[in-house]
């Protein structure tokens, strides 16, 4: 390495280093990860682009304020393990966040280089050092503080629950995570596909938690198998964290939604990811046979992109995204939109479905759509799509996936009525502590915000862990409870 300090000009002259990826023609025939990751050389070259701002904007753009300038400097110096440890001071799931965070709306959006050049590839670098640490077998077990004798129940094993469990366990508390499904990881496992987030990586994080003593109990639906009150009163948990996600799929309420071949994105992705339907009949769960069929996915978020790219990989001839606004309004990560396009996904923008059409046997054969145009801005600041008169047309399709978002599962509300919820059934918390209206019960992640992001869920889990720790520290330890 050239040890002579680089000038800003020299740094700015380095172009943003693209991340090697599987060829689109190749990757639409497999479920392996699209991106192949930086090599150490690429990572260092990319890191050299950072001009080490005095007051780095990127840090403020990051929801958990990772010390971005510092970790990038360590990469530039070749200290990859130092870099990942620096990240882990603020973000305990860097291999995951490096892959799925919407960096272009967060740190990279405000990176000083973004205006004139391209921003530093912060996400790619984060991912690189996290992978480096794991692949070289250098993940260190964190220091665990002496046992406090306090017991905390975490409900849900998505990013919110895992992060909360992690911090509490390190502080010496005894943590049990209850998960409804047979598989841990929440959306990271059942929603986001392998080609975007390899399941081994999520599993490695879960294994890490097991190593620091977190207990996991799968197949337990809190509210049904056991209630929050029972956990606290009969099983003597001192505090409870609710991280149950936003898991109630919305439908559109248009005719024909119950035809054969119409799925919610949750069902389609769960069948394929969690139940491994791509491997049918080796795996027992079937999914619609997409081969040579036409598939339309309705929506413009990450979930829609995941569903449509999954359908393509299952062999769909035409795989469409049907979205009622324009591309600029799509909530999906830009990278996923770009990848989808490279993979031959067809984008039908400014179009809205009005009815699904089926045959005698009730199989889906098409969808009637209407063209839209953008009108006035709505409360969210996005221009509101309005239908264009007499512009209906029929799109022939064999399978449809509805991906217009999720509401909250009402189970916790029904079984623990003291917990205050909003009109949308999300749990109401104090944002500084994530405390709910019920004593010693905290909540965070999608169940509080509605469908949001992994990093926000993680941040919320950690904020709650801190508040729970502070609250319990004020109480005498009770080692004698069973």
């Amino acid at each position: 390495m050239d040890l002579k300090p680089m000038t800003t000009k020299e740094r700015l002259a380095i172009p943003r280093q693209p991340m090697p990826a599987q060829d689109p023609k190749e990757r639409i025939r497999n479920f392996r990860e699209v991106h192949l990751g930086y090599t150490p050389e690429l990572a260092q070259r990319e890191a050299m682009r950072c001009i080490q701002c005095k007051d780095p904007a990127c840090i403020k753009g990051c929801p958990v304020n990772i010390k971005i300038d510092k970790f990038i400097k360590l990469i530039a110096e070749g200290d990859f393990l130092g870099a990942v440890r620096k990240i882990k001071e603020d973000n305990i799931l860097p291999a995951i966040c490096g892959r799925v965070c919407p960096q272009e709306d967060q740190c990279e959006k405000v990176c000083i280089l973004e205006k004139k050049h391209e921003s530093v590839a912060i996400g790619n670098l984060e991912r690189f050092v996290a992978d480096y640490e794991r692949e070289t077998g250098n993940v260190e077990l964190p220091e665990i503080l002496p046992a406090t004798g306090k017991r905390i129940a975490v409900i849900g094993s998505g990013p919110a629950g895992l992060s909360c469990a992690n911090d509490l366990a390190r502080l010496g508390h005894s943590v049990t995570v209850y998960e409804a499904l047979h598989q841990l990881g929440g959306v990271l496992m059942y929603g986001i596909p392998e080609f975007r987030l390899p399941k081994d990586i999520v599993q490695a994080e879960i294994d890490g938690l097991k190593q620091i003593g977190v207990e996991f109990v799968t197949n337990t639906v809190v509210g049904r198998s056991v209630t929050i009150d029972e956990l606290m009163e009969e099983e003597h948990f001192d505090a409870v964290f609710i991280g149950v996600g936003a898991g109630l799929p919305w439908f559109m309420g248009i005719p024909g939604e119950n035809l054969l071949g119409v799925y919610s994105a949750n069902e389609f992705l769960t069948r394929v990811n969690l139940m491994k339907a791509y491997d049918f009949p080796q795996s027992d769960t079937p999914v619609f046979d997409c081969r040579d069929k036409n598939v339309a996915v309705f929506g413009g978020g990450n979930t829609a992109m995941d569903a449509v790219r999954t359908a393509k990989r299952l062999g769909a001839e035409h795989a469409y995204i049907v979205y009622r606004r324009s591309e600029a309004e799509m909530p999906a990560r830009k990278e996923e939109i770009d990848h989808a396009k490279n993979e031959g996904i067809e984008f039908l923008l400014l179009m809205n479905p009005i009815a699904f059409i089926g045959n005698e046997q009730q199989w889906l054969t098409g969808v009637k759509c209407i063209r839209m145009e953008l009108g006035e801005a709505d409360e969210s600041g996005r221009r509101k799509p309005v239908p264009v008169k007499d512009s209906e047309f029929l799109l022939p399709i064999d399978m449809a996936v509805i991906s217009i978002g999720n509401g909250s599962n009402p189970l916790i509300k029904q079984t623990t009525p003291e917990i205050e919820v909003s009109r949308r059934d999300t749990i109401v918390v104090d944002i500084n502590s994530m405390a709910t209206s019920k004593e010693n019960v905290y909540a965070g992640g999608d169940i509080v915000t509605g469908g949001a992001t992994v990093i926000l869920a993680m941040g919320a889990g950690r904020t709650a862990a801190k508040a729970i720790h502070e609250k319990l520290a004020g109480q005498a330890p009770d080692f004698d409870n069973e």
Binding site: L181, G247, L260, S264, T285
Partner: protein
Amino acid sequence: MNNIVSAIFLAENIKKIEIHAPRIAKKRKAGQFVMIRVSEHGERIPLTIAGSDPEKGTVTLIVQGMGKSTRELNLKKEGESIHDIVGPLGTPSHIENFGTAVSIGGGVGTAIAYPTAVALKEAGNHVITINGARTKELVILENEMKAVSDEAYITTDDGSYGFHGFVTQKLQELIDSGKTINYVLAIGPIPMMKAVAEVTRPYGIPTVVSLNPVMVDGTGMCGGCRVTIDNEIRFACVDGPEFDAHKVDFKNLSDRNRMYLEEEQQSVEAFSHKCQLGQQK
């Protein structure tokens, strides 16, 4: 992993399986179900909790071998285990003292209706049970049903045992005899439930059916189990499985249950083939 404490055939192809699952045994109420996965690559299938023993920490399932998953489960013996079981799921049956309550079961539906019949009896109802089967050999839970019934009838399609005819004919007979019936619960094949709904509709007798759409998670997360009730979408795994029979769109349910016919056949063929190979060894 959950241990199988006992497993016995009640009739050809219908097995009663007692599984160790203490939390579920303690919490479950009539009308609720579990989702199970027999093996690691298994699908998640719903099965009604036919009974439980909270002391022993066990729940009882009664399973009819239909396709791959249920046949695989029915091969399991005492001492073996199943990979996953989660529950109790679904909204419990609405139980009160209605007066005279008729519980109708068709085929394995008898097993699904049984726990609710027990609860109806405990609530003080005059309980009449009508349990139908195609033929004598397939009649299940005869003694159990008798024990909770004030009047117990068995019907067989071929007349080999009990009343010769369908459960709906027996029900019509009871109505025609001038008996006041305040509540009807019907569980069985879709055509049977639909027929019962049509029998009671003209008399305005409150009638409840337990629907059996294809489920995946069983927790309200996927919407695959959606059914049409009064022209609205409802999720059977959380809002049901019991619904007002007079509001159910049975055609939509039976259409949707055909979604994976081909795949189901493929699974069963592969499975039978494997079983035969196993037997030859």
